[in-house]
């Protein structure tokens, strides 16, 4: 940080200007600090004394006040127990805030189904719940939703946002991370299995060290591999290494601990008690880690690798055979075609690329397509024996590839050995400074990572970190996760900055509630599904979404949850809900990423030829699978998702934006996806006896009101006249309903 030519993190720089600082504080010159008014005499005297003594400041974190930062203290279960509504009602009562009544049943089932599944309930499910008179109908509904595999698909996506998941690695080539999807499926499965969160953390940070014999657990370390990287660029290995370590350090601190370590990379943190030394000690935990593969099934993995090995050798031979067979014809056809063109074209073709003049280049480019024979041009000239040879090669290729599929591998990391490379804090002005050991930041006790046993195959550094994170002693892990879950349910966390529990984030208004939830979460075995249930069973979650009188003025941000905050669907929810309403949703789970067909104009701006970067999945039924299974390229987001605030997947995203813009309306109104799904819906509506009622049930999960029916029947009549068919009018109806607020918002 530099201000007024002074590096504020440089002791010598600051020491050199203590005179100027004293003058500014004394309001003696042009610069007056602080600008808001001269300091009182006693404070001024204190500062002057400090400046005169050389403006020294301690390099380690000040132990006093910050050590008492609320989030760095152990979670303490509030005495006398409590409940979500107990805490909230008391807080609200103190402020005299009114509270909304309970939401209608129809609203509740839609709300909770979107929250847990990212999908709307069907009309039948809605009707059943509305009619369910049993006292535990709500609880039964929650249990049913939590038991469904749709749950993991929704909550897995929250996690994938946090860990900056993507199926390609970014930059110019944007190459595929061929097995990243295994990690995606691991995350979805983990949520569906209600894997205890402490275990989920341990598997991702150090599955290889803690569960070395369990491939399913070791898959968790794929977490480190699914981010952006430029491993495919050469000559920048040193930079790449630094960037990879920075990504590991910053993302891990942010996702699991809610700490923003990034600042401390270059200097002691200005706000949090994290020094540069802390940063490099933390980073040293990841220094020994290298990317590797987990063999999900050992024997199949060996067979697969051997098969690949042979196949590759076979391909070299096939390539050579094809070249030998085709090249003579390629040259002949080229010559024939050139002969029909002006001689300077032939000269341009014969001149090596680097010697071509611009004119020759232009000639070459202008004629290349017409002169260069296609494969089919060549095959057309093959003699019968040549054709037979071609088919022999073809058949060999087909048999080599006919069952080609991803192998039983999952991306992972592990350490190369028990010995770790050394880590140094960078020295001021370049070079290596102090050597550090791997450990946790001083403010959390500063423990070194344990020394691995002599027989260990890895450094056990990540193991040490994981066990510290997943222990009940850690003040952050449970609080941060509980707060995230709360945020995903209520739109806003108890702590607003979900990935920043540092000292700049004051204790939340509902601190006791947060601690009560975190303590209960840990006591109950770190079970996320139980946490959901605790939250969803509360009255706070079940309130209506209209603000009671007076609340908007007294509590504009709805901090006291007097009502349930209405929200717009997220990008994936919009797409998935359209598929569900149209009756086309394919609920197949898992597997390699699906590449749906997009219009040419939607594929604009990719760094690579579309034919390489957007290889459309052959089976069109796959295109209607849930959005979490669609490919997420770093260099290109599907326009519909992009416009509705899907994050780029480059940096960890702890909270999505929810914007309202005209391009969203254009995309959802005119895009090919909406049109295709509206057509599918129209086909079903036309077959139904009462298309208006069928439309309302499919899209809204309710019956149309009489005035709605009147309006829509007039609409259908008019559109039938304008567009020439009832079917086309019904397509327009579907297109309309997908664009309405009742569909796009959750009450």
């Amino acid at each position: 940080m530099r201000m007024g030519g002074v590096k504020l993190d440089s002791r010598s720089d600051v020491a050199a200007v203590t005179g100027r600082m004293a003058a500014a504080l004394g309001y003696e010159g042009r610069v007056k600090m602080p600008p808001s008014g001269k300091l009182p005499a006693d404070e001024l005297a204190l500062l002057r004394e400090w400046l005169e003594a050389g403006a020294e400041w301690p390099s380690a974190a000040p132990a006093g006040p910050v050590a008492r930062h609320w989030a760095f203290e152990r979670v303490a279960k509030p005495a006398g127990g409590g409940s979500i509504d107990g805490f909230l009602d008391a807080a609200r009562a103190r402020r005299g805030l009114a509270v909304a009544g309970k939401a209608e049943r129809r609203e509740l089932i839609r709300r909770v189904t979107f929250d847990l599944h990212g999908l709307p309930p069907s009309a039948a499910e809605t009707a059943e719940f509305v009619a369910d008179a049993r006292p535990d109908a709500w609880e039964r509904l929650i249990d049913r939703l939590l038991a469904s595999p749709r749950y993991g698909e929704k909550w897995g996506k929250h996690w994938l946002d946090l860990v900056r998941y993507g199926d390609t690695s970014g930059f110019e080539q944007d190459p595929y991370l061929l097995y990243a999807w295994r990690y995606r499926d691991y995350v979805i499965q983990s949520f569906n299995d209600d894997k205890p969160y402490d275990r989920f953390v341990k598997e991702q940070i150090a599955g290889d060290e803690i569960y070395p014999d369990d491939p399913a657990a070791r898959q968790g370390t794929g977490y480190f591999t699914v981010g952006t990287n430029r491993d495919m660029l050469f000559k920048v290995e040193d930079t790449n290494r630094i960037e990879t370590l920075t990504d590991f350090t910053d993302t891990t601190a942010s996702v699991f601990l809610g700490l923003t370590m990034g600042c401390a990379r270059c200097h002691d943190h200005k706000f949090d008690p994290l020094t540069q030394r802390d940063y490099y000690r933390f980073q040293a935990i990841f220094v020994p880690a290298v990317k590797t593969r987990v063999f999900l099934m050992y024997d199949q993995a060996r067979v697969y690798d051997l098969g690949e090995n042979t196949r590759t050798f076979r391909l070299y031979e096939a390539g050579a055979q094809l070249t030998a067979l085709m090249d003579p014809y390629r040259k002949a056809i080229r010559q024939e075609r050139l002969a029909k063109l002006p001689p300077e074209v032939a000269v341009a073709f014969d001149t090596p690329d680097e010697k071509k003049t611009p004119e020759q280049k232009a000639l070459f480019e202008a004629h290349a397509k017409r002169v260069e024979p296609s494969d089919d041009d060549i095959f057309a000239r093959f003699s019968k024996p040549e054709l037979e040879r071609l088919h022999r090669i073809e058949r060999r290729l087909v048999s080599a590839f006919k069952s080609f599929a991803p192998g039983p591998f999952s991306p992972a990391v592990t350490d190369l050995s028990r010995e770790a490379p050394r880590t140094f804090v960078p020295a001021k002005g370049g070079g290596l400074g102090e050597e550090v050991t791997a450990g946790i930041p001083a403010v959390f006790g500063g423990a070194d990572m344990p020394v691995p046993p002599l027989t260990a195959e890895t450094t056990h550094r990540r193991k040490g970190l994981a066990e510290w994170m997943a222990s009940g002693e850690n003040p952050l892990t449970a609080r941060v996760w509980v707060n995230r879950v709360w945020q995903y349910h209520f739109g806003q966390g108890l702590v607003g900055a979900a990935s920043d529990f540092g000292t700049r984030t004051a204790a939340p208004v509902h601190r006791q509630l947060l601690d009560w939830l975190a303590a209960g979460f840990m006591e109950g075995g770190w079970r996320t599904k139980a946490l959901h249930k605790t939250i969803l069973m509360s009255q706070a979650y079940q309130r209506g979404s209209r603000a009671p009188a007076g609340v908007a003025a007294a509590d504009a941000e709805n901090v006291y949850l007097s009502y349930f905050p209405r929200r717009r669907l997220e990008a994936e929810e919009i797409r998935d809900a359209v598929l569900q309403a149209a009756g086309t949703l394919n609920t197949k789970m898992g597997g390699r990423p699906v590449v749906p067909a997009l219009a040419a104009e939607e594929l604009y701006g990719m760094s690579q030829p579309v034919g390489n970067a957007w290889i459309v999945t052959e089976d069109a039924a796959e295109h209607n699978r849930r959005t979490v299974y669609m490919i997420s390229r770093r260099n290109f987001r599907m326009p519909l998702l992009e416009v509705f605030d899907r994050p780029e997947g480059v940096l960890s995203c702890s909270r999505r934006e929810s914007t309202t813009t005209a391009p969203q309306s254009l995309s959802l109104l005119n895009g090919g996806f909406t049109l295709g799904q509206a057509a599918a819906l129209a086909e079903r509506l036309e077959a139904a006896g009462d298309p208006v009622a069928a439309a309302w049930r499919s899209v809204y999960g309710r019956e149309p009101a009489p005035d709605e029916r009147t309006r829509v029947e007039a609409f259908l009549e008019k559109q039938t006249a304008l567009l020439g068919s009832r079917r086309a009018a019904l397509v327009e109806l579907g297109r309309s309903l997908f664009n309405t607020n009742e569909f796009l918002y959750v009450e």
């Binding site: 900055a497 990935s499 690579q608 030829p609 480059v650 005209a662 391009p663 254009l666 559109q719």
Partner: protein, 460 residues
Amino acid sequence: MTNGMISRRRAVFTAGRGFAGMALAGLMDGAPAARRARSVIYIFNHGGVSHVDTFDPKPALSKLSGEPVPASFAQGLKTSRIDFRKAPMRGTPWKFGRHGRGGLEISELFPHLARHADRLAVVRSCHSDAFDHAPAIFMTATGSQFPGRPSIGSWAVYGLGSENRNLPGFVVMSDGAMKSGAGAYGAGFLPAAHQGTVFRTGPNPVLHLANPGGVSAEAQRETLDLIGDLNRRHFGPRDEDTVLEARIRSYELAFRMQAEAPGAVDLSGETEATRKLYGLDDPMTENVGRKCLLARRLVERGVRFVQIFFGTNLGDDWDDAHLDLWGSHIRMTRKSDQPVAALLTDLAARGLLDETLVVWNSEFGRTPLAEGKNGRDHHPYGYSMWMAGAGIQGGRALGATDEFGLRAVEQPKTVHDVNATILRIAGVDHTQLTWRYQGRDQRLTDVHGEGEFTGWLYGA
């Protein structure tokens, strides 16, 4: 939630808008430099323009052409393909001339632009260390070699908003495939509304602007009316919710945009003289000419930030200079010199130049050393850019590279310095334009930009 930016951010949610961003007027209060430009047109030369062949003459390089570079100069430099210790120096094949009253040196590759020499403020001392395209493009456009951060246009419209609600505040025109992908004009962690909207050629410049096939304007109006009626019915008991209201309005805005955007790109009303000026009558200049003319039309309509990416990964590119410096630079300047000069002429003639900042930049320069027989490699350690318009004093050059054009040695300027300057001229203090993300108040210029040179541009 006491953080000022957070409450602004909430305001962003509730602001019912078209393409328009929301101006953070507070950022301009008491800002030292008054706002000079209403709009920015940023011509980004994709692939890397050779500085020693265009705006940074190096007689010593020509004199020692073919010799290895002195070891002390090559020390510590690396790039994509060549080895600085082995490759020979290569003098420029083009002549430089002094132009305008200021005698600014420009090579013969830019005969049209040279006539505007007194309008151009050249920076000869740009430098960075990103020598691969994608990281260098990200660096130049977003201030970070890593993707995921908001681009300069996104920051500008986030800070300044747009003056035309029916057109995007940040418009991008490119030649298609970019080595960085769309991240070069992405909004990063800013709301998606701030990202660059790609304008394509043809009557429907914006994605999804046209009605679906077979849907007439009348039928589309019927559909929009039904959406409006159903939304208003839904809104009745929820009328305190400004977001719902904003979405209702967003459909009306979309409809107006469908009406206005095609008009903005319809060049049929331009005179024959104007079309000729931009070179629309010549297949070589037609592409860039159309983009530059469109840029002027958009600026006229209040679009805040127009960025033209010239060059593409899958066609003609400045990067063809790897194998063919001569051909590539002749081709690329032949395609762009007249149109870019025409843009300056036309803006000036219409009185728009004083309120429009024109930026001409590239992700890096090219090596003063030879790659192969007739090429130059990527070179971020010293390269040139220029600015014009917005009342800046042209005909001058800032900074210098060493005698062979290798390193910026006088007044070295980083990408952050350049971006800080652009934002300042557009009316925002780069140190105040922040967005809280990952626990930090993020800036386009990170913690840098102290080498901002706005003062120099205005004659200080």
